[in-house]
């Protein structure tokens, strides 16, 4: 089997897996990084949302062969290390608004929210209700309103 190497949460990792294995299973089943959750496997529910070089991606839909040695994969476990504080402002906003219910979708929600706020900032504009409407991540507990509040709050702190 080919060796694949990439950066994961600040460290270079190397795995011996087929190229077409989706990154989600490399993370969860081979490397034991379980923050990204399985919710559908077809890039719909967004529970596995993580970052690739800072943008939001869904590892369930990325063959590990597409990931380059210098690519930086950040999962929820590595998010706080991208800032100087103990927690990323988005995680802190999540705590401040007590967003989580069962918590299963929350790693993906947070990673998607961080990418959204960064994108809006890159575009030099304010976060809108339409931006929030566009978050596709499912929360079957329905904590959507608190998610909106937390994202808006964190956007002022990022």
């Amino acid at each position: 089997m080919p060796e694949r190497t990439f950066r994961l949460n600040g460290e270079q990792v190397t795995v011996d897996v087929p190229d077409d294995m989706r990154l989600l299973w490399v993370l969860r089943d081979i490397l034991g990084v379980t923050g990204p959750k399985y919710g559908c496997g077809i890039n719909v529910c967004k529970a596995c949302t993580s970052h690739l070089n800072g943008t939001a991606v869904n590892p369930c839909a990325i063959p590990v062969g597409d990931v380059q040695p210098t690519d930086e994969v950040t999962t929820i476990e590595g998010l706080a290390d991208t800032v100087d504080t103990d927690l990323h402002p988005m995680q802190q906003a999540w705590l401040d608004h007590d967003v989580s219910q069962c918590g299963y979708c929350q790693p993906g929600q947070i990673m998607a929210a961080v990418a959204l706020v960064r994108r809006v900032a890159r575009e030099g504009r304010e976060l809108t209700e339409e931006d929030l409407d566009g978050i596709r991540n499912i929360c079957r507990c329905g904590t959507y309103v608190r998610i909106r509040q937390a994202v808006k709050d964190a956007a002022t702190r990022m």
């Binding site: 989580s100 299963y104 979708c105 947070i110 079957r140 959507y144």
Partner: protein, 776 residues
Amino acid sequence: MNGAHREPQPTADGPTPGRRRFLGYILAAPTLVAAAELLPAPPASAATADTATAAVPSADLTEIVDLNDLMTLATAPTAGLITVQVNQDGTVSFALPRAEVGQGITTSTAMLIAEELDVPLEQVRITLADARPELVFNQLTGASNTTLATYTPVRVAAAIARARLLAAAATELGAAVDELAVEAGVITGPGGRNVAFGDLAVKAAAVRTQRVTADLKAPGQFTVIGTPRSRLDALDAVTGRKKFAMDLAVPGAAPTMVCRPPTLNGTVRSVANTAAVLAMPGVTDVTVIPTGVAVRARTFGQCIDAVRALKVSWRPGTAEGKSDQSVLKELEAAELPMGPPPLTPSVEAKFTFHFRGNSALETNCAIADVRPGSAEIWASLKSPIVAKQAIAAKLGLPLGAVTVHVIQGGGSFGRKLFFDAALEAVEISRKTGKPVKLMWHRADDTRQGRAHPMATSRVRIDHLGDAVLGYRQRHTSVSTDLGHGFGEIVTALAARLPVADLGFSETFFVLSQSMPYDFGTDSRLLNETDGGFNTGSMRNVYSPDVTCARELVIDKLASKTGKDPYRFRRAFLKDERTRAVLDKVASAGRWGRAMPSGTAQGIALHSEYHSVSAVLVEIDCRPETVNRPIRDGVTGPRVTRAVCAVDVGLTVNPRGLEAQMMGCLMDGIAQTLTSSLHLRDGYFLEASWDNYFYTRQWNTPPELEIFVMPTSTGTPGGAGELGVAASMAAVACAYGRATGTMPTAFPINHGTLSFVPMPTVPPIPQSPTDGLDHAH
């Protein structure tokens, strides 16, 4: 539904002034362990039962005893086995015999202990107890019963521990107990000398188990209960540290999936290519089980490949050839008569409620390690005792040889009352001789999982002018599978109730369906048909459909008689608590305010679990809103604002209660507007969250207000499911008022299939490979 006919609850503000005394134990243990013992709660006593029997023909049974009473009674004799342990590091441990699936009971339980022990909330460690058959009925998580059933015993155990710590501190500090003060886990005596709980944990331990008494705080002394607290697992959730069943590293437990049939509950006839699939990369095992063909591999990705590669010949399922239309015909054939035609004017309507999926975001899953002579299981289970018994029976093992660990669940909504994944995992582990980590694919969960049964509901209200003379409702449903423990409770206690002639479902129905309105002669009946579907008691069970039908016909009657829907409801309410929540949403929601054409308000209420709730929503049904473009989604009418008011008697954690009401609202919106399963040719078409349209951000009300009412009854009622019914009904009423047409089939978009169904063979889709193209 409160009070007059029920036995007094053991509350601190009951008939005895000041503190109430409760019995319990100090157990022999290395550190302090206190156990609560309740005298069997006054059950359906002779007087109550007589009253009930006499009252049956006309009374609302839920006013005398409801499902929660029944469950609370059932749990009382064993509640004494609940133990609170004080550890040397100052933490306090409690193994909660319930399932945490997002409803917040670990946090609220920690609050009860923090309150009575005077220990900081952060020092309380709540875990979920393994299956404990000795608890008999007392480990079933359902019917929003957790806090009702555990409120007193958990506090008693904590209070006993506190008293014991005080006694130990008195010796340690050379002072009398009444000279000591407790604050934040530290006991301080005269002169400021102090000792922490952790330093007393061993000294306060008992060498012999002994029976003791303890006093509970009066509600006026509460400093934790009733205050808003964040979830104790929030930090773990936002950092990815929170572990669900599939995140556990059980040695040797390799990913496992099942190739499932193309129609509901089909079974395997033969497999044509076992050897070829076994030779695929990573695959270690291929084995036939009753529900399909199991594959075990190094990764779930390889399981998906193997499931898709299997060539299986299938036998028919349990709903072969059936469709929404054929089931509707079955329901119509099973509908009970409405009775003789009324002699007075009446309003009448019939509603259809389609199948709805009961999947959580965490798909059905379990880990099993079956060995000769023993078995160990890890899963989120709301009925772990029944699961353990079933697994032991299946394996031919003594109960003690089976260990069932209850893991925090990624949602439930009733789904985790069923332990089908655990049974499958056990079967596969037994057959392969290896530990397995079994996970259902999303498509499996949607197509072969549990569903809220399709139902019709007919309602007739007889009136003469403004006077309502009678209310009739005939609810006809595909059978709801209650075979997970409720059944045992009902069997055990039904004899005490005036429902002897009814089956499980009908008993559940009459025990859970309250009637908050004084509508004269009141007759509500359930009839069920067709057991061929995998159904379950989805969040709030019968109530969302039953309540939605009722509230719509009330709107219809109000309209016919020229009354305002809010004031009409208010005039007929039976009790003050219900009136108060209705008034609250009407005033806070500015009921009756002028709104543009195509938009409207709706208002509805529901009472259950000794709690009451009211919801007011505003909906926008204008074309520019309905037709907003969203890729692979259903937009439709949007609820633009929601106002909820809830009275649960006594609120333990208002922040948690608000979270539950918000979730209930999202469920109600989904069930009225967007969420359903379509049955065609014996299978459900939906296989994805972009097929099954649960509420998404684009359906979420931008404005939401939730009002938690002040303490009313003084004891906590149920909350986790409470808000679904009123939410669903309020959205339906608002839709009817905005469009001028009362909706009669739910969800309103069911007639339009908004997606292209995925194939059934292979049963699960391949993961896409274009993820990098969608980076954002």
